[in-house]
C-alpha cells in the first residue's frame, strides 16, 4: 500500500519530467539563423519561406488593410505568413514574437504598441539572427538592429492642418479648435500632435486651440472627450482627429448637436483627420470631412516585405524608410483619390 502511495506521489513528477524531456528533444532543423541549434524548417541561404507578422491590434480599417496586404503579398510570393494579434498586450506580443523565432521564421514584421516595449522583441530577433521590420510604428532610439517603415507624421499632419486653417481663415473670424490626440506613448500620436501644433503656430490669429483631448486610441474615450469639449466650448469650429477611426465619434456628437453639416452648408464644422481610411474617403466624398492625411498603407506593406527579402539576400537595408504620404482635401480629392488606400477599400465594398 505504501509502495502504491509512493508511486502515486511520483506520478506528476514523472509525467512532467517526461513532458519536459520530450519538449527538450530538439529536432535537427535549421535555416542558419539561430546559432548552434537552430529551429524551424530547413531553407537555403537567402530564401524566404516563412515570415511572422505580429500586429498589436486589428481594431481599425488601417490595420486590417495593412494585414490583408501583407497576407496577399506573401501569398503571391509563395511565402507562408504566420500571424499573431496581441490585442494591445505587449507581454503577449513578446511571447508571439518568440514563438515565431522558435518556429524558425525567416523574418518578423511587428506593429508594436509603442516604441519602447518593442525593443526587447527586436533584441530577441537580433539574437536569433532574424531580420525584423517595425511596420508603421518606429522604435525609440536603440542600438538593436531593425528597419522601421513609417509615415512622416509631422509633415503629413502639418500639411493637413494647414489646409484646415486656411478654411478657418476664409470664415473671416477666429475659430476655436480642438485636437483628439492618440496614445502619447505611441510615436505616431506624438508626431501627429506635433504636426498639428506646428501648423497652429503658423496660423497666427486664425485659430485658437481650446481643447486637447487624449484618447489613447480609444473610440469611447474620443466620444466622451468630444462631448465634454463641445459642452465647454459649444462654438468650436475646427476639429482634428489624430486618426480617421474617430470620425464616427465626431459624426455622432456633432449630429446630436445639429452641427454635422457639409462643407458648403452654413454652420459646417471644419473636420480633418489622419490615415486615409474608407470611412474618411466616404465622408470626404459626401462633403462632411474637409481633409485627411493619407499614409500609403500598401506601399508601406510592400516596403516591409521587401526589407525582409533584401536582408535575407544579404543586401544592406536602411534603418528607416519614410512614407511621405500626402494630404487629401476637398480641393484635390478627384486628383488624388486613386492613391488613397481608403478609396480603394471603399470601392471594393
Amino acid at each position: 500500500m505504501s509502495q502504491l502511495t509512493r508511486l502515486r506521489s511520483c506520478l506528476p513528477a514523472a509525467v512532467l519530467g517526461l513532458l519536459l524531456l520530450l519538449l527538450g528533444c530538439d529536432r535537427p532543423t535549421g535555416n542558419g539563423t539561430s546559432g548552434a541549434n537552430p529551429p524551424g524548417p530547413a531553407t537555403s541561404p537567402g530564401q524566404v519561406t516563412t515570415i511572422g507578422v505580429a500586429f498589436e491590434s486589428l481594431m481599425t480599417e488601417f490595420w486590417v488593410a495593412a494585414f490583408d496586404k501583407l497576407k496577399a503579398d506573401c501569398a503571391a510570393r509563395g511565402i507562408t505568413m504566420l500571424e499573431a494579434v496581441a490585442d494591445g498586450d505587449t507581454a503577449r506580443q513578446f511571447d508571439q514574437v518568440k514563438n515565431f523565432l522558435n518556429r524558425g521564421v525567416d523574418g518578423v514584421i511587428i506593429v508594436p504598441k509603442d516604441g519602447k516595449t518593442v525593443i526587447p522583441m527586436i533584441k530577441a530577433c537580433n539574437a536569433a539572427g532574424v531580420p525584423v521590420v517595425l511596420y508603421n510604428r518606429p522604435a525609440d532610439p536603440t542600438d538593436a538592429r531593425h528597419t522601421a517603415v513609417a509615415p512622416d507624421n509631422v509633415a503629413i499632419t502639418k500639411e493637413t492642418v494647414t489646409y484646415l486653417v486656411s478654411l478657418a481663415r476664409k470664415t473671416g473670424r477666429k475659430q476655436k479648435a480642438m485636437i483628439l490626440m492618440g496614445d502619447l506613448s505611441d510615436v505616431n500620436a506624438i508626431g501627429r500632435r506635433d504636426g498639428f501644433e506646428a501648423a497652429i503656430q503658423e496660423a497666427g490669429d486664425a485659430v485658437e486651440v481650446v481643447s486637447r483631448v487624449p484618447t489613447d486610441w480609444n473610440q469611447e474615450k474620443a466620444l466622451a472627450g468630444l462631448q465634454s469639449s463641445l459642452q465647454a466650448h459649444p462654438d468650436i469650429g475646427l476639429i482634428f482627429a489624430s486618426s480617421d477611426f474617430m470620425f464616427p465619434s465626431i459624426k455622432s456628437v456633432l449630429s446630436s448637436l445639429g452641427r454635422w453639416k457639409k462643407h458648403n452648408e452654413p454652420g459646417h464644422v471644419i473636420v480633418g483627420g489622419f490615415d486615409g481610411d474608407a470611412t474618411a474617403y466616404q465622408l470626404l466624398a459626401d462633403g462632411y470631412v474637409d481633409a485627411t492625411g493619407v499614409q500609403d498603407v500598401y506601399w508601406e506593406a510592400e516596403q516591409a516585405l521587401q526589407v525582409i527579402l533584401d536582408a535575407k539576400a544579404g543586401k544592406a537595408v536602411p534603418a528607416r524608410i519614410d512614407d511621405k504620404g500626402f494630404a487629401i482635401t476637398q480641393s484635390n480629392l478627384k486628383e488624388l483619390e486613386p492613391r488613397m488606400w481608403g478609396a480603394v477599400v471603399a470601392k471594393k465594398k
Binding site: 513532458l19 532543423t29 529551429p39 523565432l101 526587447p120
Partner: protein, 331 residues
C-alpha cells in the same frame, strides 16, 4: 474484445477522476502538436513556454488560495498595472524618486510587493469584516487600481509608460533569473502551506463551511484576509516579472490575463465554490493553457480563434469538474 466493458469503464473513471487528469491532457496536447509543428519541441520553445507561463503561474497560485476559501480576486490584473507604475516611479531612470541610487531596485521591488499586499489586505478586510461579496469588492478595487495606475503615471511622466528602468531590476525578468527562482519558490511555499500546515487546512475548512469553521475555532476572518493578501503579493510578483521583461512600467501590463488566471485554476480542478483545489493542480492548468496557446500559435491559428478555443476549453473544464465530482462521489 480482450477488455471487459466494466474494466474499460473503470479505466476511464480512473483517468478522468484522477487528480493528474490535466497533466495527462498536457501530455496529450504535446503529443498532438509535436509531430506537426516545426519548432514546438525545440529547446528554445521549452524555454519560451516556461518563461511565458511564469506570470500566469504565480497569479494562478494566488487565485487558487482565494478560490479555496470560496472567494474570487478579480483585482489581480489591476494590481499588476498599479505595482508596475509604483515600482517604476520609485526607480525609473527619468522621473524615479530613487533614480541612480543603489537602493532603487530593492526599494522598488519592496514598493511593488507592498502595493499588492495593501490592495489584497483592503480586499480581504472588506470581504471578511464588512461581509461584502468578493466579486463586488475585487471588481471595484480592479477599477480603482486601474484608474489610479494611469493617473499616477500621467502625473509623474505625462504618459502611461515609464522607461529606463535600472539594469539590476531588468535582470529579474531574464529567463532563469532571480525572478523565475522567486516565483518557483513562492509557488512551492503556497503548495506546502496548503498541504502540510494547519493554516492550509483552515483554508479548506473556511471554503467548505465558514460557519462551522468559526464554531470550530478557525480564525475565519484572518484566513480570508490572509488569502487576499497572498493573492495581492503574488500579483505583485507577476508585475515584477512583466515589468522587467518588457523593460517598461505601464498600467496596461497583464490586462488581458484575467480569463487565463481563473481558467487555469478551474482547468486544474479548483472549485469555484470553495473548499477544493491544489496549487499543483493550478500548475497543471497553467501548463495546459500555455502549451495549448503556444501550439495553436505555432500552427498559425488566428488569435481570435485561440481565444475562442481557450474559452471553450475552460467551459469544458468546468463541465468536466462537475462530471468528475459525480464519478468520484459515485465510486
Amino acid at each position: 474484445m480482450t477488455t471487459h466493458p466494466s474494466n474499460a469503464a473503470r479505466l476511464t473513471k480512473d483517468i478522468v477522476g484522477s487528480e493528474y487528469f490535466v497533466l495527462f491532457l498536457c501530455l496529450a496536447v504535446f503529443l498532438a502538436f509535436a509531430p506537426f509543428t516545426p519548432g514546438f519541441a525545440s529547446r528554445g520553445n521549452v524555454a519560451n513556454v516556461l518563461v511565458a507561463c511564469l506570470p500566469l503561474l504565480v497569479l494562478a497560485t494566488g487565485q487558487t488560495l482565494v478560490l479555496i476559501t470560496a472567494g474570487i480576486d478579480l483585482s489581480v490584473t489591476a494590481v499588476i498595472g498599479l505595482g508596475s507604475v509604483v515600482g517604476s516611479l520609485v526607480m525609473g531612470g527619468d522621473a524615479g524618486w530613487l533614480r541612480g541610487s543603489p537602493l532603487a531596485t530593492p526599494m522598488a521591488v519592496a514598493a511593488m510587493l507592498g502595493t499588492g499586499a495593501l490592495v489584497g489586505c483592503l480586499n480581504g478586510l472588506c470581504i471578511a469584516w464588512l461581509r461584502m461579496p468578493a466579486f463586488m469588492v475585487t471588481l471595484t478595487s480592479m477599477m480603482f487600481c486601474s484608474g489610479l495606475a494611469v493617473w499616477l503615471a500621467r502625473q509623474a511622466v505625462h504618459a502611461e509608460s515609464i522607461y529606463n528602468l535600472p539594469p539590476a531590476f531588468l535582470a529579474l525578468g531574464h529567463p532563469g533569473g532571480l525572478g523565475a527562482l522567486l516565483v518557483a519558490l513562492a509557488v512551492l511555499v503556497a503548495h506546502l502551506l496548503l498541504t502540510r500546515t494547519l493554516v492550509g487546512r483552515w483554508f479548506y475548512a473556511v471554503g467548505h463551511n465558514p460557519r462551522a469553521s468559526l464554531v470550530s475555532g478557525v480564525p475565519v476572518a484572518g484566513v480570508i484576509v490572509g488569502a487576499y493578501v497572498l493573492s495581492g503579493l503574488f500579483a505583485s510578483m507577476a508585475s515584477i516579472l512583466l515589468t522587467a521583461r518588457l523593460e517598461t512600467g505601464s498600467p496596461n501590463h497583464g490586462k488581458t490575463l484575467l480569463l487565463d488566471v481563473i481558467g487555469a485554476a478551474v482547468i486544474g480542478g479548483t472549485s469555484l465554490f470553495g473548499g477544493k483545489g491544489r496549487v499543483l493542480w493550478s500548475v497543471y492548468g497553467v501548463l495546459f493553457l500555455t502549451l495549448l496557446g503556444n501550439g495553436l500559435n505555432l500552427v498559425n491559428v488566428s488569435d481570435f480563434l485561440i481565444t475562442i478555443i481557450k474559452g471553450g476549453v475552460i467551459l469544458i473544464a468546468a463541465l468536466l469538474d462537475v462530471w468528475r465530482s459525480r464519478i468520484v462521489r459515485g465510486s
